[in-house]
Structures are given as C-alpha cells and as structure tokens.
Subunit: 313 residues, 2 copies
Amino acid sequence: MRNVAVGIDIGGTNTVMGVVTEDAKILAEASISTQNYIELGDYISALASNIKELLLKVGEHNLKGIGIGVPNGNYYSGTIEMAPNLPWKGKVMLADELKRHFDCKIVVTNDAKAATIGEMVYGGAKGMKNFVMITLGTGLGSGVVVNGNLVYGADGFAGEFGHTTAIVGGRQCGCGRLGCLETYASATGIKRTAFELMSTYNVTSKMRDIPFNELTSKDIYTFATQGDDLALKAFDITADILGRKLADLCTVISPEAIFIFGGLANAKELIIDATKNYMEKYMLPVFKNKVKVLPSALLGTNIAVLGASALVM
Amino acid sequence: MRNVAVGIDIGGTNTVMGVVTEDAKILAEASISTQNYIELGDYISALASNIKELLLKVGEHNLKGIGIGVPNGNYYSGTIEMAPNLPWKGKVMLADELKRHFDCKIVVTNDAKAATIGEMVYGGAKGMKNFVMITLGTGLGSGVVVNGNLVYGADGFAGEFGHTTAIVGGRQCGCGRLGCLETYASATGIKRTAFELMSTYNVTSKMRDIPFNELTSKDIYTFATQGDDLALKAFDITADILGRKLADLCTVISPEAIFIFGGLANAKELIIDATKNYMEKYMLPVFKNKVKVLPSALLGTNIAVLGASALVM
C-alpha cells in the first residue's frame, strides 16, 4: 500500500488541497473558495468532505497525515492566529477541528514555511543546512532554515521577514505599521512603486492607461521587457530594496542560498539577478560573493500543497 | 582530578585568559597586550607560555580544552579572518598555531558568540532555546540562538547584527559601509549621537566642554542622570534605533528574550527599559509583549573568558 499525505494550502481567496506521494506526485487535487465560508464549522466540513473524496479517488493508500499551510498558521499549537485576510477572526483551533474528521497526524504552519519545506524536501535546497526562502506574492512570505531546521522561534511565528522595516515611516502596510518590506517587494509592492514613479516623473509609460485596481505585476514585467522606462525603474527599485534587506538578513543568518518563489521570480534578470547585484553591493565584506540567489526549483508547481504535504511525510 | 577549561578573550587592545572550572569559577587569570605583538608567532608564544603558567598555578587538573573568543573568529575553520582591529591581517590559522603548543581541543569563535555561550551556560539564558545576545561595547556584537544552538551559518560568520543597516546612507562604519546599527547603538554610537545633537541644538550641555576623543558613554550616562537634556536625548535616540532594529530581528527569529551586555547595559532605565519600550512600539502585532529585554545576568563578570571556556567544557 503506498504512502500518501494530504497537503492543504489555505489562501485568502481559495483553499487548494492535494494527495501527494512520497516522490512528490500530486495524485488528486481539489479547491474550494475560502471566502465562501464565513462560519468556521462550515469551512471545516467542506474541507473534510473534499479531502475524503480525494482519498477515495486515489484508491488504496496509507495516509501519513495532513499538512496545512495557512497565513499566520502556528506550528506549535496547530492554530491560525489573527490572520488579517481570512474570514475567521481571533484564534482558530484548526488542527483540533480537523481532527474530529481524521484520525491522523495534522500539522499546521504558515504558507511560506510550507513552501520552504517544499523547497528543502523536493526542490533546489535539498541537502542545504542554511538557506532562506522568499515568496513574492500579494505579500512577501519567508522561511529561514538554520542547521537543517526550519526556524519557528519561541512562539512559532518566526520568519516574518516581509514585515521587517525597509523604509522608516514608509508605506502603509496591512499589518498596521509603516514601511514593511512587503509594501515594496511583492506583486502589490512593485505596483505601488510603479504608481509612485508615475506621480514623480513625466516620462511616458503604457502603465498610465491602466487603473491601479487593474495593473498587475505581470503587466509591469511585460512593459519592462518592451523597454518601458518606468516599468524598468519599478523593477530596479524593487530589486534595490529587496537586495539591501537580504544583505541585512545574510549578516545575521549567513545562508548558503536564497530561493525566490512567486510570479515575480519568473522575471529572472529583472528580479533574481538584479536583487543579487544589489545584495552584493550592500553586503558586509566578509559575506561578499558567498550567497547564491536562485529562483525556486519548484516554480510553476503548487509548492504550497507539496510543502504542506512534506510537513507530515 | 578536577576538570578545567581555558577561556581566552582576544580584544583589539588586550588579550585576557583564564582557567575556569565546570561551575564557572575563574581559578587564575592573566592578560597580555594584543597590540604589542605585530608578529603572529611572537603572540602565539606569549599566549602559550602564559596559559602554561596559569595551568601550573591551579595545580593538578584535567584540561578539557581551550576556547577562544576573538573578533571575526571562525568556528568552523578555527581561524581569524579579516579582523579590522587586530595586528595580523588576512586569514590567521589561530587554532592550528596554538595546537603546536597544546594537545587538546581548541575551539575558536567570535567574541560576541563566546559571550552568548556564556549567557546560555552560566547566565540568564539557561534553559532557553531561542534568544539573542547583544553586546554593546566599542561596536555592537551579537549571538543568535535558535532551537538551542548558536547560529554560525553557512560560513561560520552569522550573527553580525551590528552590521545590519539602521539608517540607509547613514554614518560611516568601520566595515566600509554606511548606516550600520553599531554606528548608532554602541558606546561610540551614542557618543556620535551626542555630537550630532550638539551640532543640531542650542541647548546647553556639560558635554560641550569635552572633546570628542575624551567623551565616554559613561560620561553621557552620568550627565543624563543629572538631567542633562542632550545626554538624555542621546540615550533616547539610541534606544529608539536599537528598539526598532530588535523588533525587526524578532520578526525573523522570534526569540524568548534579548540579553544586553556591556557598559551601556548598566544604564537600566535609559537603555534596557527604553529599548524595550521602543521595540514594543515598532513590533509586529503578533509578537507584541512576548519578548523580554534583559540585562545580561553576567554583567560585571568577564563573560568573554567564561563564554570562551564554555565552548569546550
């Protein structure tokens, strides 16, 4: 009987789940709308029935457990705590609630940490003892691995690199503070930078025909590859700020490599290479030319589902 | 026969060494001038003969090893690499050179990491799995403990928190870069802040009668306790910057506590408490009121010698 694990990626919009084998094959996948379930009980029921259906689909198996990646997920307590973009407020006993439906190991962590485990188990960080994972999505998520172990910290919430200060007194962040890194280095961050540039300069740009609510980081990338000066400048500023903050992080952690995941990571020269160049520019001499900056080896896969499954595999 | 270890603290000015027992008693201590030995060979000979003399003094013993804390000391290779304040340039094979004189385990790390081990083994961090040690001296040294282990990183040089950027494009740092935290939060940092304040404001201050090369952080503390407004403001700015950067560090590491060592740590309300207040002000909500800021429990002791000895005990 083959071993499988269920990996669940709970996002603000959708929840994606998959049944994964030991060699990282996703045998079956399903998705429900997170936002449709204002009541936690209804959500848990929908989640449980979808998982059971998926497990039926894959035939005979030995279920090793269920791993869940979710914003503000806590590894130690199996809870979600104060997640700003989820329907359920306060502290949610996620693992305990799901245990009513499944008699197996259930492990919770945040989405970026699940992706980090995914990179370590299936991706480019195989065999690395010290590395950092950066996920550039709506926000900036991160996972830090030290001595071969993911850093959870005293309370399970370590690794919120996106909420370190990039610019003192800077942009308003969803967390209620100002100038967090993710307000600059993320899909929304680069859009904010593009709008700041449009307000500062008179240079023509195709971005000037698109409203704030419609412009995507992918648009900015497309325009940049077409030579749009403001779009190129938006990438340059993003790489500058991210590179500077990564140099800071290297100074404390001294990782072997930094992996970058998310749609923006597809912009190889404009994000990966440019960030590496700025990182080297700002780096403390003793760390210069030691730390690799690489696109995730799992780009284009559902790394969050894979990583979540790896939590229990 | 009792077990002892030799702890050595190599500083830019002096090298202090001691023979330490398992219960942290320093049985014998000696000191030589680091600056007097331009040739490494002469320094190693002087070090070895002093250690041998100390070991003779303490009578019959079982030598567990020699631990050394030194700026830019590398745990993995037993070397000193590119230390700006020591007479020997480039890469110094410290452990190998000393092994010619002693047939025992010899462990090298940097001075702040040795202090961190000291706090963990003998001090206030006993039993803690996740904490940070900050030493406020001429510069700002640090050690980060995650999952019960000191973080050395991929190359052994992790934990250089004093060289993360506090103010972009800020003060010139000894490392060749601008705006490093230690140019603000250290004994010299607070002095630079005091001089900046004297240049900015017209307020009277006793500090105006003391030249730059003579004013000490202890003077600033004394004036502050006497109600000198500029001296008080210098402490306030130091605590603000250090508190903000510690909030950043907590966001990534999530420590249980932060210990502060060094002369400045004696200024309890003006440094320890004020830094804690600013740290809470800047803290990501999920970490608020969780992380203790404490003076080192080993204040007033030779923590560097104790910590170095703990490396091999």
